[in-house]
């Protein structure tokens, strides 16, 4: 359909090379996705020990946020600096279920009120708050993981975009939401576990999530969910909705005066990003075993934007690499020079935005792809 993108491809190539080219060099090829799937489903599990694999699983939960940001920021032009809110809400909904399961009357019999989470007991609560009660049910909790963040994103998005608030102003609002939620969680210690978060999570329906086997299983569940999320987002970006989001970034008024309710398209991209972030948050809780306000506030929210920026804000697969690389860097760097990490992070962000605005995916498109094409052309001639 697009002769410009396809022009350099030599149609005379032998079948094998043609097959490779279709996968990697055409837009819309599945090549990059297959490579990513091989990497996270085969290479990592075979080469990393359980501790490192679990760490990688943690990075991949951030990748959900980055993938969501590709949709909201890259395609929808909606820069949210508050994705930690949704990551945190998803994580907390999961953590509440696990905490209730860990707080059965037998294992909490030394508390003054047995059967409620330990932090409630420490804060002189004598009964489980009403809004905690539904989280005894796993189906309800899983639904809440998706619905609570989705609903919040809808309300914030609807209120802002219908009033044509966008760009920097929207980003500031999301920052405010992130600040408010983290202050709220820290302040309401008796209901939320405060600054420590919800910790000491043990089992999921009786299945110990702390063991090596559980970590392995959860890693794969997480990886498969991530790939499914990317596939779903690919479908969105290739649909008319994806084209409209691109069109809106270019000429918003033209889209509006072609009969589209522009605000609702932005709300959708924001909600999708929120729900994806929430799935990441829930998987984080399961794999790491706790959730705390340190993933909700302003700083983590901005870090999440950097993942997407480094990976390439228009590339779903690139965003995953962005999340992995920045977190590898963070782990390595903060072990050696803990004080310098934030400065390095800031420098990385500024550097990426100024030097290669399309991130790693942009570098691949502008450098690796042409090189591959040249090589391909030479080998067939």
């Amino acid at each position: 359909m697009n002769p410009i993108a396809d022009a350099p491809v030599d149609t005379q190539a032998p079948p094998a090379a043609g097959w490779l080219r279709r996968m990697f060099l055409h837009r819309g090829g599945y090549g990059s996705l297959i490579v990513l799937a091989l990497l996270i489903l085969v290479v990592f599990p075979l080469t990393l020990d359980v501790f490192r694999l679990n760490l990688m699983g943690k990075y991949l939960t951030y990748a959900f946020v980055a993938v969501g940001l590709v949709i909201a920021w890259g395609y929808g032009g909606v820069l949210s600096l508050g994705q930690g809110v949704f990551f945190g809400l998803g994580g907390y909904c999961m953590a509440m279920f696990l905490k209730l399961e860990a707080s059965d009357p037998v294992s909490t019999k030394i508390q003054s009120t047995p059967g409620i989470p330990d932090f409630m007991d420490w804060n002189q609560l004598t009964a489980l708050p009403l809004w905690w009660k539904p989280f005894h049910s796993l189906p309800f909790s899983l639904l809440a993981v998706l619905v609570v963040p989705g609903l919040l994103a809808f309300i914030v998005g609807f209120a802002m975009f219908k009033r044509r608030v966008g760009g920097v102003y929207f980003a500031i609002i999301t920052q405010a939401v992130a600040l408010i939620l983290s202050v709220l969680i820290i302040g309401q210690q008796g209901y939320t576990g405060g600054v420590n978060g919800i910790t000491d999570l043990r089992t999921l329906l009786g299945w110990d999530i702390r063991g090596d086997h559980a970590k392995l299983v959860l890693y794969f569940v997480n990886a498969v969910l991530l790939l499914a999320a990317i596939l779903f987002c690919r479908r969105v970006t290739r649909s008319k909705l994806g084209t409209l989001l691109l069109a809106m970034r270019d000429k918003e008024d033209r889209v509006r005066f072609s009969g589209y309710d522009v605000a609702m398209f932005k709300v959708f991209s924001f909600c999708l990003a929120a729900v994806l972030a929430a799935i990441g948050g829930a998987m984080f809780t399961l794999q790491v075993g706790f959730m705390s306000p340190s993933f909700v506030g302003i700083v983590p929210s901005i870090e999440m934007v950097i993942y997407a920026a480094v990976g390439g804000r228009m590339s779903l697969v690139g965003a995953v690499y962005g999340a992995i690389l920045v977190n590898l860097g963070k782990t390595w760097f903060s072990e050696s020079f803990p004080n310098l990490w934030l400065f390095l992070m800031a420098a990385l962000f500024i550097g990426v935005v100024m030097a290669f605005p399309n991130g790693l995916a942009g570098l691949y498109d502008s450098h690796v792809k042409p090189w591959l094409m040249r090589r391909g052309a030479r080998s067939t001639s």
């Binding site: 359909m1 697009n2 649909s239 069109a247 270019d250 072609s258 009969g259 309710d261």
Partner: protein
């Protein structure tokens, strides 16, 4: 206000920006199948009038009835769905999409979020894109990125995007600005063709072009209508000569 046979009936329309009355108690009626040209000096309120009709600007007072239905309170996208199409002064197309995609996203189906997700490129979409591309003379450029089109072609593409929606009322703001003589001729022919089964309002400065296409001319001055009628009558009106044609 009573119902009329007009496609568009504007009555007592006013809007002020910081006290400046851009459109002042204006009434305008457009017939079915009519091609109306609005002329007038800069700042007369011509573009503001189109903005008011399509909803880009909200009126302070007055009524806009499209097919006897009040439009003043409807949001922009609803007015478009009722059948009001608007072309902007500078070509307003999606530069990074192909000509085909530009036309395709203008097809009036799948306009909701989930409708757009489920939208399929069926044969009626392809047929419509093809026939519109032919109409605007861009059938060979369908796969070209729209940003690479010439200025005139961009203007035609935007007209084509509006035709995709089959609007009953089409409003064009200076469609031939920046076009070559040959392109102007082609555009005049195009406008005459597409006017067959719809009403149009065109803002234009080029009097030769206006003479070619207009059924009726409305002259605006300082937010009000100065004169209205067939071209010859308007051209010989002394007040029009004084404020506009005299220069």
């Amino acid at each position: 206000m009573s119902n009329t046979d007009f496609v568009l009936a504007v009555e007592g329309l006013s809007v002020a920006f910081d006290g400046f009355k851009a459109v002042d108690d204006l009434s305008l009626y457009v017939d079915r199948g009519e091609l109306r040209v609005v002329i007038g000096p800069n700042g007369a309120g011509k573009t503001t009038l189109l903005d008011l009709i399509c909803g880009k600007t909200r009126a302070n007072a007055g009524s806009i009835k499209f097919r006897n239905e009040e439009m003043t309170r409807l949001p922009e996208f609803r007015r478009v769905r009722k059948g009001i199409g608007r072309k902007f002064q500078t070509p307003s197309i999606y530069e990074n999409l192909t000509v085909f995609q530009n036309l395709e996203v203008s097809f009036p189906r799948g306009r909701g979020v989930f409708g757009a997700l489920a939208f399929k490129r069926t044969s009626d979409v392809l047929d419509r894109v093809k026939s519109v591309a032919q109409e605007i003379g861009l059938e060979k450029e369908l796969d070209l990125e729209a940003g690479l089109l010439s200025h005139g072609q961009k203007q035609w593409l935007e007209i084509g995007m509006l035709l995709m929606q089959e609007p009953e009322l089409l409003m064009l703001d200076e469609p031939i600005a920046g076009m070559s003589v040959r392109e102007r001729e082609i555009t005049a022919e195009l406008l005459k063709r597409i006017c067959q089964n719809r009403s149009m309002i065109v803002i234009e400065h080029d009097m030769a072009f206006v003479e070619q296409i207009a059924h009726k001319v409305t002259v605006m001055h300082q937010g009000k209508i100065l004169a209205e009628g067939p071209m010859e009558k308007v051209q010989s009106d002394q007040r029009v000569i004084d404020v506009y044609l005299g220069h």
